[in-house]
Subunit: 212 residues, 2 copies
Amino acid sequence: MTDDVNNDQSSDNKEQIKNERHKKKSQKQKEKVDAGIAKATEERGIVIVITGNGKGKSTSGFGTVARAVGHGYKAAVVQFIKGQWDCGERNLLQQNGVPFAVMGTGFTWETQDRAADMAAAEEVWAEAKKFLADPQYHVVLLDELTYMLGYDYLNSEEVLDAIRNRPAEQSVVVTGRGAIKPLRDLADTISEIKDEKHAYRAGIKARKGVDW
Amino acid sequence: MTDDVNNDQSSDNKEQIKNERHKKKSQKQKEKVDAGIAKATEERGIVIVITGNGKGKSTSGFGTVARAVGHGYKAAVVQFIKGQWDCGERNLLQQNGVPFAVMGTGFTWETQDRAADMAAAEEVWAEAKKFLADPQYHVVLLDELTYMLGYDYLNSEEVLDAIRNRPAEQSVVVTGRGAIKPLRDLADTISEIKDEKHAYRAGIKARKGVDW
């Protein structure tokens, strides 16, 4: 009986010590976060680049669009490459008033026609430029733009200038593998997504509502 | 005049060679992709873990939910930690019929109360378990679950069992830094997002419609 009480007390003490330690650690963390917030004072739209070979680049871009739209802001989407797929996120966002400009060919390794791809890229880029010049858009997603720059389908100087000269309050999200250096230099935020494991390599079929 | 014609012909030739090279490269790429697709034959819901310290984890999870909903599937979201923020993506998805379970405390370093955080975690986990047992949900997003496991706020064996025993057609997306090893082992797909650059560190304020 005495032993039980002692055990209870000792386990209560342990729990208390754990809680105190957590409180101290949290206070330190809070101070650090608060100091960071106090230092970040500049207010303007930013350029976010989501690159790397892992899953989650386009979904991250579309999640940001959903975020903006959910706050009542206007957002626009330009889809390079993957345009012609039946695309769940496009359905939902279009239903919620987001304009889409979609490239007229599928994957480039499907079409195997460089000249046609370049013409299609120029066509959709003309739409993108309009969004990038229009201050009513809080967020513009340029989904899979990186390939257009990497393959020289679009003039990278022209593209980067259009992004650089966008309205001050507008943020731009660029997704795709292999972002070129001048785009990285222009970016305020870069996330590099590493593919650590992929269901596909384990023989699992790409899935509607998850992979597209 | 003859020189001009020759130059034109030579540049035409160069363009043709470039196009041919592109065509061959694309064909190889297509064969590789097609072979991969042919091998991936298993059809079932998957577990996706989006971890790492870079920006884009939650937005990627929410983009996947938008994708599922846009195809007419049902999806559910459980928000650990960030729950009480005014959150654009939640507004939009709730308007489109997605149920949310939201943890009753803010950031843990704000509350500094381990016992209260643990109780709040258990409460929202009870909701999560219902989604994970319900075959009507095609996708369940467990946003920032990783911290609950890393801090031992939830029993990781219980959590992993619930994910493991979910309906066969259901996919689960888990986001947050520092995914623990047993969760990584269970995952079909893991993306590790590296923070290469962040606007915040350059003194730019977090932005409504972009950062939350």
